[in-house]
Amino acid sequence: MAFVQNFPFFCIILSMFSAIISFVMNGRIAKYIHVAMVTAVLILSLATLSFVAGTGESYTFMMGHFPAPWGNEIRIGELEALMAVFFSLIMMLSVFGGMAHIDREVQDSKKNLFYILLDLLMASLLALIYTNDLFTAYVFIEINTIAACGLIMIKKQGRTYVSALRYMIMSLVGSGLFLIGLTLLYSITGHLLMSPAKEALDQIIAVHSYQVPLMVIIILVTVGLGIKSGLYPFHTWIPDAYGYTTPSASAILSSLVSKGYIFLLIKIFYRVLGFDSIISSHMVNILFAFGVIGMIMGSVAAIKERNIRRMTAYSSVAQIGYIYMGLGLGTTAGVVAAVFHIISHGVMKSLLFLSISGLTEVSDGRSDYLSLRGAGLRNRIAGAAFTVGSLSMIGMPLLTGFISKYLFASAATTAGNKMITAWVVLAISTVLNTMYFMRTVLTLYRPVSAEVHKEYTLEKSKIERAAIIGLILLNIGLGVASQPVIKAIEAGLAMFG
């Protein structure tokens, strides 16, 4: 066994231990620990990715050398490693991009707590990505929820408590449903590890027994994770949760936390339930329908919204709709598009949320349209970042959003009778996206008379600007050279099967 194969395990343990150590440290040191941890995770994940891509096959890693069915396993393939790379990269850039805000907005006594929550979040995301054990997945879903709740209310203001509570209730409903599904699965298969569970299920499906429980399992697991990731009818917690917390937390919540659940869902579809039985159970059609409705309704809600942060949060609802629409196409190409959009949306949304903080800061801290007039002229770099993010969202060529849209549309071509629906909705949603994002961009560049806004002396935080520029470059880079990423996703999905 090569030494590199230990790296994913190191990553999980490293992030958990940094959380534990940070309990006894003050905020500043906790920050350094967090940064060092994320950097290390990024490097280790890159090494894992190149190793897995080199060997071309996945491997399972047993914890403590207990073989299945007793032991706990993680499984590493190209897709998992790729996700880990992107998640840690986005985490790093989001934290850097809001560093000065964290220092300002979070109470000194709570600073180390903030970084502990981020460490835990990283650990749980990595575990959700890598785990081969359903119960471990459940445990880390709960850890993830708790950490996310903490991040939502870290500013300790009235509204953030309400939104955290709301998030907590919705999330617990979601994980409760997931747990019930898991229990049923365990009772009909007798396994919690993914591979043996799949084998048992294959036998069950072959003899056509337990058809109703299987259906219930599929529904419970899908709906549970759908609620947690903000699929359309269960999206009501999103705007509050993303809209009021500190910018780094908004960026991380919208681009990583919900995506971790979607990735887990894809993994369960492929590795446990079997994609064929998902298709034959018509669950894909339901996902498709809700995804499509979400794409439209999210955008419509965003158009009605006058607060730019809540608007961007509603746009997340629409984008998650895209991802579920891709899954719902029921083809491998659709799943590739969905996974690519997980990455692509992460890159776009974190850029948007970080730039919004730069814009509100030069508008008396307000985030409604009227106050934001001319903000792009007062804070050039945030304005440019928001523009790039918006254009990418609309799907301008040479930016990552276009590649997503292209992948979705070409995946739809092979999806039979869903083709026309998918295209029409993509078209409508593009126009709706254009409406609210371009309206905002224009507002940002509309000059106002000098009296209305006094001169702002920005404390220009170099590290925030560097992170924002890094995210802009990432958007362009993914838009211009997406080929290796798409190849890696395809290879990774092939390893899943």
Binding site: L391, I394, M396, A412, T414, A427, V431, T434, Q483
Partner: protein, 491 residues
């Protein structure tokens, strides 16, 4: 095809970089900035001209891949050469004329920044060798030309800019739709004369794809039912911007239609189907409606905008009958209308910046105040109406005789009749301005006459373009031979 000619991206990148650089440069005097812009525009024209003189088989650049199946590919054929030279020439002319006009607008530097960038994007659009590349630069063109429309940032300007954007995005997505439908068939969409698909009795979905592309690109060309942005965007934009929007950017839509119909789908596939008939009917409707609206319109620039709606549809009509002679006529009309409309808008701009008059009824006697400007205006109006021996006469002659030969049932007669009626209306809405301008009537007060003539910087481009518009009509043979070659290769 494996030779990469990297010089092709020079006329694309030069104006784009120069434009972006302009955002950061500080000039002590306006003259320095103007010299800088002039130099860029001249170098751009020279490089495009140099490319146009090269043989076609050396002009390919196939180096960039965005993703699998997304290949950015440049190939310059005769059509690209003509479009790119026309664009660069008009850009230079209007650029020179705008130096004087822009003096009374704020934020000049921002205007020129986008002006240069759009110029570069248009070269790339002309050089595109496949549908994807074309789509990429088409979207970029929309995006970078939008700030030109809403330059003065008033409420109307912003609303007009948004309207322009929404129409264009909707149109572009229709194009993308068609693109995906073709892609779904597993076709490689590299332009080749006469079309790649080109099969008789195609499946209905393919015809639908072509139709979507025609309507989508037709948005930029101002074809009914997607023409709504034109009359809104033109009056609020600064005159040089409306000149290039009307003269060149609408032609980008035409180029898109030519590429998708004649170079991707293939005329044989469409001939005699509902797509062709609908297309002909839409363009005839647009011709008639545009002229009528122009005839009724009271605001000069809006009148010119409606005139563009109608005139660009002449071109579309010529393309839609799918007959070589009409095709030649359509391409000629691309050139002539571009020259004419730019002159008209530049002279309208001269009137606006020198006298502040925007309505048609205020223009009584203006010919006495600005004789050279109004002479140019009158000459190109005559051209546009199609009075021999000026240029648009030639193009309309070809359009009509081509249409009559095309053998499309019924429409081959109705089309020419509408063209003639529309020519009459064109005379009605353009020449009446000239008549009032030079013959103000008895109650005109000659004592109050002031000379408002703009300086040579504005007059020179007008005179050059007017001269070209007239001369090309007297000696069209050279151009015609080139266009006949193109027509022979695609039909």
């Amino acid at each position: 095809m494996d030779i990469n000619n990297y010089f092709l991206i020079f006329p694309v990148l030069l104006p784009i970089f120069a434009g972006v650089l302009l955002m950061f440069l500080k000039f002590g005097k306006r003259e320095h900035m103007q010299l800088y812009i002039l130099a860029i525009l001249i170098v751009d024209l020279a490089s495009v001209g140099w490319i146009a003189l090269q043989p076609e088989d050396t002009l390919t650049l196939s180096q960039f891949f965005i993703a699998e199946g997304l290949h950015v590919f440049f190939h310059v054929d005769m059509l690209s050469k003509i479009f790119s030279v026309l664009t660069a020439f008009v850009w230079l002319m209007v650029g020179i004329a705008s130096f004087e006009y822009m003096a009374h607008e704020k934020n000049e530097q921002r205007f020129y920044c986008f002006y240069l960038v759009v110029g570069g994007v248009l070269s790339a659009l002309a050089f595109s060798g496949n549908l994807l590349t074309m789509y990429v630069f088409y979207e970029l063109m929309t995006l970078t030309s939008m700030p030109l429309v809403m330059h003065n940032l008033s409420h109307e300007a912003i609303m007009a800019g948004l309207k322009y954007l929404f129409y264009s995005v909707a149109g572009a997505f229709m194009v993308l739709f068609g693109f995906f439908l073709f892609n779904a068939e597993g076709r490689v969409l590299y332009f080749s004369p006469g079309g790649i698909i080109n099969e008789a009795n195609p499946p209905g979905i393919m015809l639908f794809a072509v139709f979507l592309m025609i309507v989508g690109f037709g948005t930029k060309a101002g074809m009914f039912p997607m023409h709504g942005w034109l009359p809104t965007a033109h009056p609020v934009a600064p005159a040089p911007a409306s000149a290039v929007l009307s003269g060149v950017i609408t032609k980008a839509g035409v180029l898109g239609i030519i590429r998708s119909v004649y170079y991707v789908a293939g005329p044989d596939m469409i001939k005699g189907t509902w797509v062709q008939y609908t297309w002909i009917i839409l363009s005839i409707l647009t011709i008639f409606m545009g002229s009528m609206m122009a005839y009724k319109e009271k605001v000069l620039k809006k009148r010119l905008a409606y005139s563009t709606v109608s005139q660009v549809s002449y071109i579309l009509f010529g393309l839609s009958v799918m007959q070589p002679v009409a095709f030649v006529g359509a391409l000629m009309h691309v050139i002539f209308h571009s020259l004419v409309k730019n002159t008209l808008f530049v002279s309208a701009g001269a009137i606006i910046c020198k006298t502040g008059k925007t309505k048609v009824r205020q223009l009584v006697g203006i010919g006495k105040e600005m004789p050279v400007t109004m002479w140019c205006f009158t000459l190109v109006s005559l051209t546009l109406v199609g009075i021999p021996p000026t240029s648009a006469f030639v193009s309309k002659w070809y359009l009509i005789s081509g249409a009559l030969d095309s053998g499309v049932p019924g429409l081959s007669w109705i089309g020419p009749i509408v063209l003639l009626i529309s020519a009459l209306l064109t005379a009605g809405y353009l020449l009446t301005i000239s008549i009032k301008a030079f013959l103000p009537g008895e109650d005109y007060n000659y004592a109050k006459l002031v000379n408002h003539e703009p300086t040579w910087r504005m007059l020179m481009p007008m005179i050059v373009m007017t001269a070209l518009a007239v001369i090309l009509g007297i000696w069209p043979a050279g151009l015609m031979k080139i266009f006949a070659d193109i027509a022979a290769s695609v039909l």
